[in-house]
């Protein structure tokens, strides 16, 4: 059996029953990476040595399986914006091409405490800015279902790794859809938790009020397991919320009786790929068949979400990326005539085009005379969007929508017009603005064999209901079991 094909839950059982060893599981994944990555270009850094050492340590823990966490001995891939101590972390950028952080992100510490194996750092759009992973300074990753197409972004590598069994699961980040979109494009499960559910400490910041770390997994149970490990208050992150983390696994199989699913009319628009709409509606119908009552709802300010996002996110990013000046770490321009020149050259050389575009736009919308018209306005619209959702949640428990208007597009297809690329996020962005949890599960394939995702949106800190609903849906389908042939 090719151990790399296991889910976390399956592997965990086998490990704890001593039917397989942590070392062989890690080796199996490493072997899979070796054969498949020349095609997929998922990995920026493979941590073979460290992973095997971690596997050996995990083996020790597994001697007393009752005390071992479900993640003990399980290889996880990490999006390269999440810092790993002693292991190069680039954020997909030339600016940090050789940056080796002296500390771990909190989520990494939690994985390590659980005995998980950090198998490697995977590719992403530079500084998490993008929807296709084509903005990576290094190379674009490929969609395992069709190597000429994008895997989605910005957590493209996180999704390809899972879809192609190059790791058992991965961590990504989501600011405007960056976990859910690649999960949908690659036929895997991805969750963006409620803002504040998971610590952002040690995660390279893009848009501080929108970023969240989340799991990308082969199925919903794995998603619950991984979320369980990384969620929870972190005193190092003032925006992380001090609320207890429920036992997501325990309620997974409780079914969906009595739940109501809201279907917002604004999310089924002209210009959507017809097969995508069909697959999503079929998914919603399946939920209905399981006992979930469908409710028609309206989220009237949906069409303003992308505009509001691109003001708020770029404004915050322009400030967050000011620290990349070559002084204390990262790239520094070789020869400079004075300090200002050093800053300008360092940043011109270190940042790619999309990052520059967003920094400049963000700087512009915050600059004197424009703050009220843009930034303040966008934050008010954000309140309206949030109110839309909170109002809707009075009539339903989860909201179901498509993840994207299309399936995976071709590499290079949308790079000439950034605005077109921005519109890939229209169904996911509002969820970040409202700070709500959102999950993408596979719900079909188009006629070209490209995956389609169903998005479920939940109430604040109600990941348990989301996961339970997704689990019930997944249980009566087999989309998630299909694997790409490479």
């Amino acid at each position: 059996m090719d151990l790399s094909q296991l889910t976390i839950s399956e592997a965990s059982q086998l490990l704890r029953r001593r039917e397989i060893r942590a070392r062989e599981l890690t080796q199996s994944v490493l072997a899979r990476i070796e054969t498949s990555d020349p095609l997929l270009h998922t990995y920026l850094t493979v941590c073979a040595e460290e992973a095997l050492a971690q596997a050996a340590a995990a083996e020790q823990h597994l001697q007393t399986p009752e005390t071992a966490s479900p993640l003990c001995g399980v290889p996880i891939a990490i999006k390269d914006v999440i810092l790993t101590k002693g292991v190069r972390s680039t954020a997909g950028s030339r600016m940090l091409a050789d940056f080796v952080p002296p500390y771990d992100a909190t989520v990494i510490q939690r994985l390590k405490d659980a005995g998980a194996i950090i198998i490697g750092k995977v590719n992403c759009d530079e500084f998490a800015m993008g929807s296709s992973t084509e903005n990576s300074a290094f190379f674009p990753s490929r969609n395992p279902w069709d190597l000429t197409r994008v895997p989605g972004g910005s957590s493209g590598g996180s999704a390809t790794a899972v879809a192609a069994d190059q790791s058992l699961a991965s961590l990504g980040t989501d600011t405007g859809g960056s976990i859910r979109l690649p999960a949908a494009f690659c036929g895997v499960t991805g969750l963006k938790p409620t803002y504040g559910r998971v610590s952002r400490y040690g995660v390279v910041a893009y848009a501080s009020s929108l970023d969240q770390v989340g799991p990308v997994t082969k199925d919903v149970r794995d998603c619950a397991l991984l979320l369980q490990t990384i969620a929870g208050h972190d005193p190092k992150d003032s925006t992380s919320v001090n609320l207890p983390v429920p036992d997501y696994q325990a309620t997974l199989t409780h079914g969906v009786q009595g739940l109501r699913v809201g279907v917002p009319k604004e999310y089924f628009v002209e210009g959507m790929q017809p097969e995508v709409e069909e697959a999503v509606r079929t998914g919603i119908a399946a939920l209905t068949a399981l006992g979930v009552a469908p409710v028609s709802i309206s989220l009237p300010h949906t069409e303003y979400a992308v505009a509001a996002y691109y003001i708020i996110a770029t404004a915050e990013a322009s400030s967050n990326l000011a620290r990349y000046d070559g002084v204390r770490y990262g790239h520094r321009a070789a020869q400079s005539d004075g300090l200002v020149a050093m800053y300008e050259q360092t940043r011109a050389e270190g940042f790619g085009s999309e990052v520059k575009r967003r920094i400049l736009l963000g700087t512009y919308v915050l600059s004197a005379g424009y703050y009220d018209a843009y930034y303040l306005k966008a934050q008010k619209v954000r309140t309206l969007i949030r109110q839309d959702f909170l109002q809707a949640f009075q009539e339903c428990d989860v909201i179901a929508t498509p993840v994207a208007p299309t399936t995976a597009f071709a590499i290079g297809e949308r790079t000439t017009d950034p605005l077109t690329m921005y519109l890939s996020d229209i169904f996911t962005i509002a969820v970040n603005l409202a700070g709500l949890p959102g999950l993408s599960v596979p719900c079909g394939f188009d006629h070209q064999g490209l995956p389609i995702g169903l998005q479920l949106i939940g109430k604040p800190f109600d990941e348990a209901t989301l996961l339970r609903t997704a689990y019930s849906y997944e249980h009566c389908t087999t989309w998630h079991k299909r694997k790409p042939t490479l």
Binding site: P102, S238, T239, Y310, D337, L360, A373, K380, V381, P418
Partner: protein, 95 residues
Amino acid sequence: MAQVTKEDVLRVARLARLTLDEQDAEAMTAHFTKVLAYIEKLTVLPTDDIEPATHAVTVAAPLRADCVTNAPDPALLQTALAKDDTFFKVPKIIE
């Protein structure tokens, strides 16, 4: 809303400490114009009585006790490309 010119873009680039060559500046101006035109749609929404949503979380700020919890760590200075003893070194600041 304002029309964006290349001068605006260059001014903003200065603020953000990013150099742009002629070509980039032109492309950026075109991009800005497009994006700002798209963003224009927000102006139709009446928002005078709406509070800006600066934080998703509505709890009060967490506070930490006033204790020294960090010890000096030489590893932190390893990432700098230019140092003088334990100072960070930068090109001269021309006032």
